[in-house]
């Protein structure tokens, strides 16, 4: 018995351990509010306390408390509770009787803004709950300048690393094999893209911090100290430091390199691994501070993200490097030079593209809860666009690999082959840069939450506006009524249950509410039978505008329990 107990306890511990990462949320969510949502207080509260599941930064948080006339009733700024770092507090003026709207916006550890709202009343004669207008702040952090800064950061970092790899590992034998050639053009291109990245990364960090704390890009004095306050900011700041280290090590490696000698020098053998290690470290950081670091299983997600970035960098930087070589080689040496470099790059690029596609597909499977999410969510749609761009590059890549590369070696075809090669490589580089833009957009969108899977199993999709919908499950007829079906307001939920035209009495009915647009905790209410077969409840579980999954768990007096999910869209 004792052993059994231990086994049961061990199983429980392992079970909880396995389950925890799966429910680990990507975004900060409210776990508790004081006062509670929809509550009627007898006396005015001195402040509003919002407790999250993680420590959110008060300097990036907005909490507005307004009365029915949209007048603010707060008397100070948001601070962190001294007793609990996960709790934010905002003081209130002494408020009269009536209803109040609390609207909050915070920044999650991965840099995504999350928001919500709830109401409470100060009584005893607060009256019926009024309809509040919810303030509008864009839900995602994606503004055009931010997106462009993110894209440029990715593009320049990946290009610099790819050019460095092409220069030191792939194209290097050119100098020894074709006398009179140098790789100076590729080195210069490396320094140019590195210099651009050194500017682009802090510009991106500054713009992102400006948006999060609702300040201007140019208020450097206020924003620079905030760069490292979120895990996202720390990740990108460390990426910048690692990139600077990479550029230093890379510059030394290029300076001490003697490609004309048959063997690498000792100095080169020291500096090159340093630079490559720094490059590898740089490419870990976007994943570690982004979605991959928040997606379970995290180790695998971060590894896939890293492989994706490494292979993407080798491909993109290599393509741009080939174009630079084409231009920088003297016309008389061009064909001979490309005959050395192109086959070597083709082999590496072939493997890179396979790794890129494999890691991309696998990561998409990790990020999307169901296949539907691929075409139903904006996150999924961007994945499709990115995949389409990459697929469009494949005919060009195949043309280079199967046609242009073999023809380079044949004297009579070489001239034409190099021209076609340049056109194909330019087209490929352009498309890959487009795919990097899609990647920048993708990583700034929130992946669909696990609850999104409920959308696929829904019996019906209803709303916005008053709901009256009939569906059938296992011989039962369910009529759902939601009135007025508005977010951040009390709604009446009623489920009319019948079988063969007769009301089903005495069943146990619970309703679970899941927000489908972002990760939030599930709310559960039990419904009370107010008339034969009619189960009702008044509550305010729809705490924000958006798509909600309403799952009714019905246990009839006789017969087997069943579940019915209806997807409801609620507007403010």
């Amino acid at each position: 018995m004792r052993i059994r107990g231990r086994i049961a306890a061990a199983t429980l511990v392992v079970g909880v351990g396995l389950a925890l990462p799966a429910v680990a949320s990507a975004h900060a969510y409210l776990t508790k509010t004081v006062p509670a949502a929809s509550v009627q207080l007898s006396s005015p509260p001195p402040n509003i306390q919002l407790t999250y599941d993680e420590a959110v930064e008060p300097r990036f948080a907005v909490i507005s408390v307004t009365d029915v006339n949209a007048h603010s009733v707060t008397s100070g700024t948001v601070t962190r509770s001294p007793s609990n770092p996960d709790t934010l507090i905002i003081p209130l003026k002494r408020i009269p009787e009536g209803w109040y709207l609390v609207y909050w916006r915070a920044i999650s550890v991965d840099g995504h803004p999350v928001q919500g709202a709830f109401t409470f009343a100060v009584g005893p004669n607060a009256g019926p709950a009024p309809q509040f207008v919810v303030p509008h702040i864009a839900q995602t952090a994606t503004s055009t300048p931010l997106l462009i800064a993110r894209w440029l950061s990715f593009l320049t970092v990946m290009t610099a690393i790819g050019l460095f790899i092409l220069r030191t590992l792939i194209a290097r034998p050119l100098v020894g094999r074709v006398p009179g050639t140098t790789l100076r053009g590729v080195s210069v291109a490396f320094f140019v893209s590195a210099a651009l990245a050194i500017v682009a990364i802090p510009a991106y960090l500054e713009e992102s911090t400006a948006i999060d704390s609702l300040r201007s890009f140019f208020s450097f004095g206020a924003l620079v100290p905030l760069w490292r306050t979120t895990a996202f900011g720390r990740g990108w700041f460390d990426l910048w430091i690692c990139f600077l280290l990479f550029v230093f090590a890379g510059a030394v490696a290029l300076a001490v390199d003697r490609p004309e000698l048959p063997r690498r020098t000792i100095a080169s053998l020291l500096a090159l691994p340093g630079a490559l290690a720094a490059a590898a470290a740089v490419l870990v950081l976007p994943g570690a501070s982004g979605h991959a670091g928040q997606t379970s299983p995290r180790g695998l997600a971060v590894l896939l993200d890293w492989l994706h970035l490494v292979s993407g960098s080798v491909w993109l930087g290599g393509l741009i490097g080939l174009l630079v070589l084409w231009r920088s080689l003297p016309a008389a040496k061009r064909v001979a030079g490309l005959v050395v470099c192109v086959p070597r790059f083709s082999n590496v690029a072939f493997v890179s593209v396979l790794v890129l596609l494999g890691s991309g597909v696998w990561a998409s499977i990790l990020h999307l809860p169901v296949l539907d999410a691929l075409w139903l969510t904006s996150y999924g749609k961007v994945i499709l666009i990115k995949a389409a761009i990459l697929l469009a590059t494949l005919p060009l890549a195949a043309g280079n690999l199967l046609r242009n590369k073999p023809q380079l070696g044949r004297a009579e075809l070489s001239e034409r082959a190099t021209k076609r090669l340049r056109a194909f490589v330019a087209g490929e580089a352009f498309l890959v840069a487009g795919a990097v833009f899609a990647a920048a957009l993708l990583s700034s969108l929130a992946p669909p939450p696990p609850a999104f899977a409920k959308e696929g199993s829904a019996l019906a999709k209803v709303g916005p506006g008053r709901v009256s919908s009939v569906s059938h499950v296992d011989g039962y007829t369910l009529k759902l009524l939601v009135s007025p079906n508005r977010a951040i307001a009390e709604n009446a939920f009623a489920l009319e249950l019948s079988r063969g035209g007769k009301p089903v009495r005495g069943a146990t009915v619970t309703a679970a509410f899941n927000q489908l647009d972002m990760v939030m905790p599930q709310q559960e209410y039990s419904l009370v039978e107010t008339q034969p077969g009619l189960y009702t409840r008044r509550a305010a579980p729809l705490v924000m505008v958006g798509t909600w999954g309403l799952t009714f768990d019905v246990t009839p007096k006789q017969g087997t329990p069943f579940e019915a999910t209806i997807v409801d869209r609620a507007n403010g």
Binding site: C242, L245, V256, L270, A271, A280, V282
Partner: protein
């Protein structure tokens, strides 16, 4: 660069190797907070 004394080139190369090691340590520290 080519005219620099070999000792200096070697010292620079060691510095480059150290820079790589520091970058890797930074990345590992960030990874440890995530994983």
């Amino acid at each position: 660069m080519r005219n620099l004394p070999p000792q200096l080139l070697l010292a620079l190369s060691f510095a480059a190797l150290a820079a790589g090691a520091v970058a890797v340590i930074l990345a590992v520290l960030i990874l440890r907070t995530v994983l």
